[in-house]
């Protein structure tokens, strides 16, 4: 017989709620993913697309973006043709920053929920270290980064004009969005120390700035009724 007495506390009230049933299509969707799991994980597709597009457009990018290439760290731009290689190696670097689903859980098990967390942070921080995080981070800096991140998100939202833009821009945007998603992924795994968390937020703001710049370029191109000039250059 059903117990219809009023619950004694909220725990009891919540626990008495019935489980919800997902729509039948959800199981079919999972089944299709289950049987297609030997294909590359989905995060790789935009990353690979970005890499291919950027590689293909590398000569053109060299022409239109020469001043920025000079800022590329020499450590990764080795070889006899530094500028060309700078572009070439920039791509995997950004791809590597796209955290795979494994990035945040690969080495450390998630904490047991009922044994209250006493373990070290997950490896999200280890796999996505902040590029130049200071050893200590103040709460005000984190607050500032949160604010900056929110402002950039709002700006991005305002600038967003659908998927307009040339292939290189779209590929770059996809790669940057994947980076943001990866950083969010890392931030979502609660147990990060303050420095790591601040570093991730700093990285997030940095990537959002790049995305905002890209979105502004796309918007400008749309307003001027054309794409970037380098889109028409032949690529070998």
């Amino acid at each position: 017989m059903t117990d219809i007495r009023p619950p004694q506390d909220w725990q009891q009230a919540f626990a008495a709620l019935p489980l919800e049933t997902p729509p039948p299509a959800a199981a079919a969707r999972f089944a299709s993913q289950l049987h297609a799991r030997r294909r590359p994980p989905r995060w790789r597709l935009p990353a690979i697309a970005a890499a291919v597009c950027l590689l293909a457009a590398a000569p053109a990018l060299l022409l239109v973006d020469a001043p920025r290439q000079a800022d590329t760290p020499p450590a990764i731009a080795s070889g006899t043709a530094p500028t060309r290689h700078a572009v070439a190696v920039e791509i995997p670097a950004s791809v590597e920053h796209v955290p795979t689903p494994s990035a945040d859980t690969s080495d450390a098990p998630l904490p047991a929920p009922d044994a209250r967390r006493t373990t070290a942070p997950t490896t999200a921080a280890a796999t996505m270290p902040p590029s130049s995080a200071p050893p200590t981070a103040t709460a005000s800096e984190l607050q500032q980064l949160h604010g900056e991140s929110a402002r950039l998100e709002a700006l991005l939202s305002a600038l967003s004009s659908g998927d307009s833009g040339d292939a290189v821009q779209l590929a770059l945007a996809a790669s940057l969005q994947a980076q943001v998603a990866g950083i969010d992924d890392a931030l979502a795994w609660g147990e990060l120390d303050a420095a790591t968390r601040t570093g991730l937020w700093r990285e997030r703001v940095d990537v959002l700035r790049q995305l905002t710049g890209l979105a502004a370029d796309q918007r400008l191109a749309v307003l001027h009724g054309g794409g970037a000039d380098y889109a028409v250059l032949p690529v070998y």
């Binding site: 909220w10 049933t21 044994a115």
Partner: protein
């Protein structure tokens, strides 16, 4: 007398073995999660080995707890469906990350919570919270009788802002501490405490409105 909810077996029959409620090892009085299902090591071994049937079985056992948790946190069925897929995909690709420290259902629940909060973050729902106005005394009174009405309670929960509802659910239904909730939601413990106090009062008010003729 047991106040624990009945364990819901999979609704469809792809998974042949019945789900078995896990032994409750938590402190007395702690809420029992809908996730609390014992998963045999042999099934996990088959899943780690990539056997599709094992994943199907895990899916059948956990689809409803994952979907329910996602629905409670995100607030709509579409979002809950997305979170369910993301959680199960993570299970599919990362089941090897579970190393047996704690029950498997706890690991999967943590994955689901993270996916739900991530969804809320992406969709900016994580910031939807009740405004704070200084001191928020804890509401320790018993829920109103209308809380026994599942439909009324669900309606009242849905009327709360997403972040407030999440705090309430994680605290009352999943048994997380304020410290844990703060870490999960990337907020302070005082945020968690305030939202719990204010959210509980709002929930009570919403239910009392439902009670009045």
């Amino acid at each position: 007398m047991s106040t624990e909810p009945a364990l819901h077996a999979p609704t469809r029959c792809l998974a042949s073995a019945p789900a078995v409620a896990a032994a409750d090892t938590r402190a007395a009085g702690a809420p029992r999660s809908g996730f609390a299902i014992d998963v045999p090591e042999s099934l996990l071994g088959r899943a780690r080995g990539g056997e599709a049937a094992a994943f199907e079985q895990l899916y059948r056992w956990f689809e409803r707890p994952v979907f329910t948790l996602a629905l409670r946190l995100c607030g709509d069925r579409e979002a809950a469906g997305e979170v369910l897929q993301d959680t199960m995909l993570r299970l599919l690709h990362r089941v090897g990350d579970y190393r047996g420290q704690g029950p498997f259902w706890g690991w999967l629940r943590q994955v689901a919570i993270n996916e739900a909060l991530q969804y809320m973050r992406r969709n900016r729902r994580i910031d939807e919270a009740l405004p704070l106005d200084g001191h928020d005394p804890e509401d320790t009174a018993a829920p109103p009788p209308a809380a026994a009405d599942a439909a009324a309670l669900q309606r009242a929960l849905l009327a709360l802002p997403a972040a407030t509802r999440s705090v309430l659910w994680l605290y009352h239904a999943e048994g997380h501490t304020h410290e844990e909730i703060a870490a999960l939601m990337q907020r302070s413990q005082s945020f968690s405490k305030s939202q719990l106090a204010r959210g509980t009062r709002r929930l009570r008010m919403l239910l009392q409105v439902e009670e009045s003729p």
